[in-house]
Every structure is written in C-alpha cells, then in structure tokens.
C-alpha cells in the first residue's frame, strides 16, 4: 500500500491518479445515471430539435449540452451511452482476458505442439488489422449486443495470451513450481495455485491497455453502424448521426466525442501508470 | 611545468532534495610527462572530478561549485563549452571503465575511431579510416582493415578496451585520463592493457592520470600516487616512497589489502572495516576517522590539512594528525 502511494505521488504517478479518478467518476456516472434528474435519453421532441447548449457559468438550462436532430437531450444520451459503452467494453475485456489468460497458461505451461499452434494463431490474428476482423465478423453474425461483445473479446484475447505465456515460461522453472511438481501435484493444481497468481498482474496491465483499445473499436463499429443498435444510445452512433448536421449543429458531434476521448484518456493514463508500476518491461505494445 | 593544475575544485551532487559536497576542496597538479595514479574506493570523488574537468559531469544532478583547472595555461572550468569541446578528444583523451557499454553498439568500429580524427584533425572519412587501421595496429589489433567494418559486439571485452584506447590516443593527446580502464577486464587481459598503455605513453610522450581503486595497478604504471577518500587527498607522493612508508592509515589499509602485501603466511587478506562515508551526512573532522583504528580525538574533531612529510622524500604529503610510522613501530 505504501509502495502504491509512493508511486502515485511521483510525477508520472499524478497522471495515473488523475486517470483513475476520472475513470471512477465516469463509472459512477454510468452506474447512477438513471437516478440523476435528466430527461429521457430516447424521448424525441421535434419542437426542440437541434437546440444549442444552454449551459452557462450560472445555470445548466433545459438542455445543458443541447439536443440532437430529433430533439433528444445530448447530456442524457451521453450518460446513457456511457452505461452501454462501459458495459460492452468491460464485458469484452473480461471475456477476452479470461480466454486469453487461459490459453496463455496452457500454451506456456505445456509447450510443445499446443504452444506452437496457439502462438501461430496469435501471429495470424495479429496479421489482420483488428478493425477489419471485427468488421467482418460483425457483418457475418449481425450486429447485436451479444455478438458485439463476443467479437471484441475475440479480437483482444491474443495480447493476453502472449504476455501470459511469456510470464508462465519465466515462472515455470522457478523453485516453488519445481518443488510442487516434485511432490506430485497435479497440473491443474500447479497452474491454479502456483502459476496463475504470478500472471494475474501482467494480465491486469494488459486488460487496462486493452480496455482503451476496445472502447475505441466499439465506438468505431457503432460509428459505421455495425456496433450498438438504436434505440440504445451509443457515443459512436451519436457521432455518425451528427455528421449530417455538422455545419448547423456543432454540439451534436462535439460532446459525445469529448466523452469518448476523456474515457480513453483516463484508461490510458491508468494503464500507463499500472504498467510502469508493475513491470516496465511490458512497455512494448 | 605543470600541464594540469587544479585549484580549489569543489563539486556537489543533488539527490532527492538533498545536497552533498562530494569534493569539498581539491588542489593538485600533474607535471608534463608525469603519470599520476589516483587511488580510492568508489565514492571517493576520483571519477567525478575527472568528469567535471572535461565538462562531462551530468548537470544536474552534479554541480561544479567553484575552483580552477588550468590545462596548458587555460582554465577548463571557465572556458566556453565550444573551446572545451575542441580540447576533448583532441589534446585531452579519456578512457572509461566499462568497454562493454562505452562503445556505440550500432556504429562500426571504424566510424567510431574515425570520428575524433574528422572532428579534430579535419580529415576526410577516407583518410580517417586509413589512420584508424594504423591505430588498431598500434593497440595490438591485427587485421585492422577488416575489423574496421565490424561492430562492437564482434569484439571481446579486452579488444573493445583496445579500441577505446585507439579512440583516446587517435589525436595524440598531451593528457590522457584513464578512469579504471582495466577494472572490468579479466586479470590476464588487465596486465596486457596495462603494458600496452605504458608503452603507448612512452612512445607518444603522454602525460597520464590513471584513476583506479587498485594499489597494485598504480605500482606498475604511476610515478606519483595520490590516495583520495571522501573527495579529499589523504596522501600523495612518489610511488616508491608511499609504498615503502605510508603515512595515512587509509593508504596503509589499502596496501594491507593487496594480495602480495606483507601479511602473515596463511593469514587472511586484510579489509578496511566499515563503509565509505555518507556524503549527504558529513561528519566533522577527518572523514576516515570513524574507520581508523589509529584515530586520535583530534581526528574526530578537526579535518587535517595536507602537509609535507618531514622525514620522507620531497613531494610526499599526508593529511593526518597522527604519526603512522611511530604508531606502527
């Protein structure tokens, strides 16, 4: 705890702290958004279409960040969108993390042909730009929330697998693993009790770095109309819709994008700090 | 005439908000043609002061607080960086401790030897590479023309140090500063490098400052020895006189720890007890006093000045309140 605090108070640590704070605020906003006194994010109001931001230094006004082309309140939509975004990205990272960690453990622990095949698979997947892979799979399966999470998990498992495998190779030969093997512990016991605890930290660092990537990817897919589907509000979709009105209503594209950037920034700052704190060697992305 | 005269050099270091005067006040000189061996443990300020002279001390955390270092009539510490740059690698050469890291891993050996020649002797790359071949031969590397196009990783540690020497002597410097050039090498290779440098020194008539922690090395190559501790000179004098009759307890301790020193058969190699002083928390008095079994009460109160030793040869000086030969007798 003391070491964490010391690392936080270093110069680079302040950025990590800032990122963590920002992320906590965003998560709280997403969790408790429904209890805030905000207009219904899906209610259209054609008489209040494309109202500019009413926020001033002194008051919020009826629509602090304005309304969109259908008269929906942008602030409510951003808050509602953060729920969907964080839920999808969080689920995808968790799923991809579990899958990638598991395969990385197997690959590193057993080695041999299992390892060769899995790592080849990683190489192949890395030869395909993520965006294209996600695009192709979503187009094939159809855009639903479940498919979206699945696809995002599918494109992110490789990085966990790589890092975890490397860590396993390093840990496998240490004394405590060797002695566990010597007293006849089963493979699953060795992996779960002795190796897993040692790979969780790097996996956590990768998860943070992946979270940012997945958020951007999701927003990109939604922007292209292949991600989160209406009426669910999503930041990417809001940007796509606002495109048409860019010359008359700048606020429609500005605020959702800002929310997206701040979220990614927060996660990146936290990830960088975690990486520096736990293991600078992971710096190679 | 003194080629290099240092007067009142003072260097400080800042770390985590604390400040230490690692060299409080250093004065000595090196005569033209002389080889001065500076001996001390790590943290004695021997390397730091050499880097400070040449403007190679990283600042911050280091800081030169004052003093003069007159080389050939000009103060190195007062001259503009551009003029100091003209001297570095030209009239003053320098060799560092670790040959494994001192060379740039991604440039050819030839290019690295040619650089100072192009810079200081206004040679073309072609001429410089020709000269580099000769230089490699001079430092005992055969087949130089072929080896010029190789990279540092293709050389052994001893070979790399030979390359470093070739670089340092490439412009025939008047003064060569060697900072522990043999420390990182195998014992057999150490001897070869030592012989090579002695030979080159005589052939090129170089003045040399040899920095080391090893008394044995100094015995082989230096005319004058200067023992440093906590940034101060503890003892200084002609090598023979100092080895025959050390006057500082610290010098005595260093000599005792030499494997071929006088010690009872089968006895253990003597080690100086205690740790080097914490420069961030200086104590009054002689800095060596806390580790010195011969220390007098005055040693703990008051730092001794460097004075001439009366019953020894000229130039033998010591900073001590006690009279070591009498205490040892």
């Amino acid at each position: 705890m003391r070491a964490v605090w010391q690392a936080l108070t270093r110069r680079s640590g302040w950025l990590g702290l800032f990122g963590a704070t920002l992320l906590v605020v965003l998560v709280l906003l997403a969790l408790f958004g429904p209890w805030l006194d905000l207009p219904d994010p899906t209610r259209t109001n054609l008489r209040a279409r494309m109202v500019g931001p009413t926020i001033t230094w002194f008051s919020l006004g009826a629509h602090p960040l304005g309304t969109d082309q259908l008269g929906r309140d942008i602030l409510s939509r951003i808050v509602a969108g953060s729920r969907v975004t964080l839920m999808v990205a969080g689920a995808a990272v968790l799923l991809g993390g579990v899958l990638g960690t598991l395969l990385g453990l197997i690959s590193g622990y057993f080695g041999g042909w299992v390892d060769r095949i899995l790592m080849r698979l990683v190489d192949i997947q890395l030869a395909l730009p993520l965006m294209l892979l996600a695009l192709m799979v979503v187009a094939a399966l159809g855009p639903s929330l479940r498919n979206l999470i699945g696809v995002l998990a599918l494109v992110s498992w490789v990085r966990y697998a790589r890092i975890v495998r490397g860590q396993v190779l390093a840990v496998r030969e240490r004394e405590f693993v060797q002695s566990a093997r010597a007293i006849g512990a089963s493979h699953s016991r060795i992996i779960l009790r002795h190796i897993l605890p040692n790979v969780l930290t790097p996996a956590l660092v990768v998860a943070t770095l992946e979270l940012a990537r997945v958020i951007v990817l999701e927003a990109g897919l939604s922007f292209l109309g292949l991600g989160i589907q209406p009426p669910d509000p999503s930041w990417g979709r809001m940007l796509a819709d606002g495109r048409t009105y860019i010359s008359s209503a700048w606020w429609i594209i500005t605020f959702p994008g800002l929310a997206l950037m701040l979220t990614v920034l927060a996660v990146n700052l936290l990830g960088d700090w975690l990486r520096d704190f736990f293991d600078p060697r992971l710096a190679v992305r | 005439m003194a080629l290099l005269a240092i007067e009142g050099l003072s260097v400080g270091f800042a770390r985590e908000g604390r400040f230490a005067r690692v060299i409080p006040d250093l004065t000595y000189s090196v005569e033209a043609g002389e080889t001065l061996g500076i001996v001390g443990e790590s943290g004695s300020g021997k390397s730091v002061h050499a880097l400070a002279l040449l403007g190679l001390l990283p600042q911050p955390p280091g800081r030169i607080l004052g003093g003069r270092a007159v080389f050939d009539g000009h103060d190195l510490l007062a001259m503009p960086e551009a003029r100091l740059r003209d001297l570095r690698g030209g009239r003053i050469g320098m060799i560092f401790q670790d040959p494994m890291t001192a060379l740039n891993p991604v440039l050819t050996i030839g290019r690295q030897i040619a650089e100072p020649l192009i810079r200081h002797k206004a040679m073309s790359m072609r001429q410089a590479l020709d000269r580099a071949t000769d230089l490699l031969a001079l430092v005992g590397i055969r087949d130089g023309a072929r080896r010029l196009s190789q990279y540092p990783h293709e050389f052994s540690g001893g070979m790399r140090q030979r390359v470093m020497i070739a670089i340092a002597i490439s412009c025939e410097p008047a003064l060569l500063i060697a900072d522990e050039p043999t420390t990182a090498l195998d014992v057999t290779v150490q001897g070869q490098i030592l012989d090579l440098m002695a030979e080159l020194r005589d052939r090129l008539r170089m003045t040399m400052v040899w920095i080391t922690h090893d008394m044995g090395v100094v015995a082989g190559i230096a005319d004058t020895i200067q023992v440093m501790y906590a940034g101060r000179i503890m003892e200084r004098g002609p090598v023979n006189a100092v080895f025959a009759s050390p006057r500082s307890a610290y010098t005595y301790g260093l000599l005792q720890s030499l494997p071929h020193g006088a010690r009872p058969p089968g006895g253990r190699l003597m080690q100086i007890p205690g740790a080097p002083p914490d420069m961030f928390a200086p104590t009054p008095g002689d800095p060596f006093a806390p580790r010195n079994p011969f220390a007098t009460p005055r040693c703990h109160r008051e730092a001794p000045p460097l004075r001439a030793v009366e019953d020894s040869v000229a130039g033998h000086m010591v900073a001590a309140w006690y009279d070591l030969p009498r205490l040892l007798a």
């Binding site: 730009p129 927003a219 920034l265 | 040449l54 740039n104």
Partner: protein, 306 residues
C-alpha cells in the same frame, strides 16, 4: 541474413494463409449465401441451382480447397454490385488508400520524430510538457471524432479545405492529418522515452569525450540508437493505420478500399469484402516484412543473431 529473410517470408505466407482461412470461416458463418443472393421469394429450385453453381452443395473441405485455390489465383468471385471480378474492383481503389495511408504514415513519422526529439532534448521544460500532453490527447482521440472536428474547424468554419472527396492534394490534407495523429502521438512518446534512455548510456559519454559537436552526438549516438524501437512500432502502427483508414475514408468520403469494404458490407457484396480484407492483410504482412528487414539494417546485433 538470407536464411532469416526466407524464414520471415515463410511466416508471412503462413499468416496470409491463416487470414484466407479466417475469411473462409467467417464467410460460411454468414449462413446460406444463396438466400442472400437471390431476390426475396425465389423458388426452392432456383436456390438449389444457385447452390450447385456456387459449389455450396459439396463437402465443406472441398469448398475450402476451392476457396483457397481461388484466393491463390486472386479469384474471389464476381462482385454482386459491380458484376466484375471482386479483386479488380478492390485494386481500382488501391491508389486512393495507398495515398491516404502513405501520407498519414509520412505525417506520423516526420511529426512524431520531430516532436519526440524535441521533448527529449528539452526534457524538464515546458516544451516536453506540452508535447507529452498533446501526445497523450492524440493517442486518446478516436480517429473518426478527430476527422469530424477537423472538418468542423477547417472546412465548415474556416472554409480552407474541402470536407471530403478525392480531388487533388488539398483534399488529402485533412484525412492524412486525421489518420496520422495516432501514429504521430505514439511515435513521439516512444521516441522520447527511448532517447531519454539512450542519453544515459555510456557510449553517449564516450561520444562527448571525443569532443564531437552536439549535433553529431545527437544524430549519430542518440537518434540513431533510438530509432530501432520506432521501426518496430511502425510495423504495429501500420495495422492501426490500415484499420483506421476504414473509418477515415468513411468520414471523408474517400474512395479507398476501406470505404469500399464498408459499402460492400452494407450491400452484402461478400466477394468484395473478402477481396478487400485479403488485400489489406497482404499489405500489412508485406509492410511487416519490410520492417523486419529495416530492423536488421539498423541493428547489427540483430543482424548477427540471425
């Protein structure tokens, strides 16, 4: 070196084969292409005829072999939209994508190297702070939002540049900046930290002890050594660039392969999607082959190990 190249070439071919396989698997996940191809209300006989025509009634491994053979010959079938071979439709759009991705890479490498060097040279000053802040923001800004903002500022408000389209060098400025920003930011951050590490190395002190001019020390003993990780990074970033080009082309109505793929997806023109994905994956593999080659040229230690 020759053997190394050959083995990397082998890896590349395996990777492309893997991508073909992924594309095949995904295309079979689509369900029955025959239903998609025929207008609603087609009879069962028509469907059967089409399935036979497409070879969909044969065993899956046979279909795979056929698909692989086709891919090898560059035959991905006819585009449903254009009624021409899919590959030729894709290749027609290549110059636009190459122009965009190429200039974005150029922007990224040049700006990134300049910014990263500045930050390292002026470490501890406001210059480093500003560059690093911009780089952090640049890495966090999604490509499509940045594109929209640039359009808003330079095209809508200032009216200096076109909002989109493919019409002369002026129309390239905004898309290239948009796509190049992430690359710029990543390279700047990597180069700065790399340079700060190298500056501490002993060999830099040696270079200074030789009396070399500061410019020589910086270029040959600091920058030269720090470039090696940057080159690796470019290989990774090429993937981000090609993926990002899909979105950027859509934002700027840029007639490249990325936008073609998106449009083909909407139109369910799968041969074009497959051909497009294959072409981009191949480019990516080739770029990484070059990166490996360059890496060897820059670092003699790697060259020796091979």
């Amino acid at each position: 070196m020759g053997r190394f190249l050959l083995s990397r070439l082998g890896d590349g071919i395996v990777a492309i084969w893997g991508v073909v396989t992924i594309v095949f698997v995904v295309s079979r996940l689509l369900g029955d292409p025959a239903i998609l191809l025929l207008p609603v209300g087609a009879t069962e006989e028509q469907l059967q005829a089409l399935r036979a025509g497409l070879g969909l009634d044969r065993p899956i491994w046979e279909q795979y072999v056929t698909f692989l053979g086709g891919a090898l010959r560059g035959d991905f079938g006819q585009s449903f939209q254009f009624m021409r071979p899919a590959l030729s439709v894709v290749l027609e759009r290549m110059p636009a994508t190459m122009a965009l991705a190429g200039s974005a890479l150029l922007v990224g490498v040049v700006l990134g190297c300049v910014a990263g060097s500045m930050a390292a040279l002026f470490r501890g000053t406001i210059v480093e702070g500003v560059v690093m802040l911009l780089a952090l923001l640049g890495q966090a800004t999604p490509v499509f939002w940045l594109g929209l903002l640039l359009i808003l500022l330079f095209a809508v408000d200032l009216g200096l540049l076109p909002t989109g389209g493919y019409d002369g060098p002026m129309s390239l400025v905004l898309p290239a900046l948009t796509l190049g920003t992430f690359t710029t930011a990543s390279i700047a951050r990597l180069l700065r930290s790399g340079m700060l590490d190298v500056m501490k190395d002993d060999h830099v002190r040696t270079a200074r002890a030789k009396g070399l001019l500061p410019g020589t020390v910086f270029l040959w003993h600091i920058a030269r050594n720090s470039l090696i990780p940057v080159v690796t990074m470019v290989g990774i970033l090429a993937g981000e660039l090609l993926g990002g080009s899909v979105v950027t082309e859509t934002v700027f109505s840029w007639p490249g392969v990325g936008r073609l793929i998106v449009q083909a997806m909407e139109a369910k023109d799968f041969p074009v999607v497959q051909a497009g994905v294959m072409v981009i994956a191949t480019i990516f593999v080739v770029i990484n082959l070059f990166v490996d080659l360059l890496y060897g040229l820059l670092d003699p230690r790697i060259r020796a190990r091979r």
